[in-house]
Amino acid sequence: MGCAAFARALLELADDHLILGHRLSECCGHAPILEEDLAMPNLALDLIGRARELYSRAGEVEGLGRSEDEFAYLRSEREFLNCLLVERPNRDFAHIMLRQFYFSNFMELYWLRAADSRDATVRGAAAKSVNEMKYHIRHSGEWIVRLGDGTGESARRAAEAVGELQFYIDELFIPSASAEICFETGLLPDRRSMREEWDQRVERVFTMAKLDFPEPVPALTGGRTGRHDECLGHLLAEMQHLQRVYPGAEW
């Protein structure tokens, strides 16, 4: 029971990283400026690298011999356990940066608390990620301020992104039954405990950006049980295409 819960909670975490990493990688070659074309794939690499480590560990814990590639390429939409925020489409640059800002602020707080996990892989990932998340937060945070406090159009788009993504915030802080067991057994931190600090951090930057902090709204959830928006299917169709068409292909 403990092992199954840990494997599942690791998959939730790994899926968050892989799906957001893939979303960012879609920006490669499409960024508004060259520096961003360098930044987004670099951020994507951090996330995908972390996902690989977490999938490997999930495979070990699960004990069924599944590899990181099998987790990434051979599961269907309903088997992905990522939160809904990370699968949101790249509607415009403001959406991309806000999604990134929400997620990296959450993850820095998460990894800070994961530093004393009973699991060595989680501790190792935490030590590395805390530093990486600082770069991610700074990058997206600076853009939130530039966009929110920028031109009329950039401010309008930033406000629109806030309005659209507000429904996906709460799910970050809701532990699944598996995550709950991992928290009780000292393997993973408590997601709920990050809310207050996260709100303060986001609010601070929103003030600089002259953006209104989102009011509490009913949360959209379902990601942790495999119930996703249609957009995840499209993402997976592209991401998994090669392995589905040429099973076992290697290069």
Binding site: L38, I48, E142
Partner: protein, 165 residues
Amino acid sequence: MVNSVSEAQYRAHQAAASVTDPELPFITVEELGILRAVRVEKGIAVARIAPTYSGCPAQAVIELSLVTALNQAGFEGRVERQLEPAWTTDWITPEGCRKLRRHGISPPVQAGKTVCGLFESAANPECPLCGSQQSERVSEFGSTACKAVYRCRSCAEPFEYFKPI
């Protein structure tokens, strides 16, 4: 017996330590602080390495190069990853930092000392060409996961900065 074990150990270590980073071919994995230990057990040489930046594509090449180098030294080569304690740029040796500078890359300052609040920058890296501290960030992200792009305000040359993590 004792001598032959330590001799084998020495040879395996020398072989592993000579492997260089594919993207920084002037610097060895030992100078980067990636190679943590090499041990020999029954003809199998195991190199223990600490992964650097998450998702760094050089990782796979480094692992392959290590196995090849150990094989060439007459061992069955294996690589083992050490996730804890996590690698940090503080492990780059002074010689490694000198080599980075000599190749136009400003070495990292102490990890955890540079990333700070939005629109702030703690210590500006030193220009590897003229030694000036007057530099400015052009892009936090560069051609590889480990580098940022800076510009020197004294000699006006652009340069790469090895990002502290």
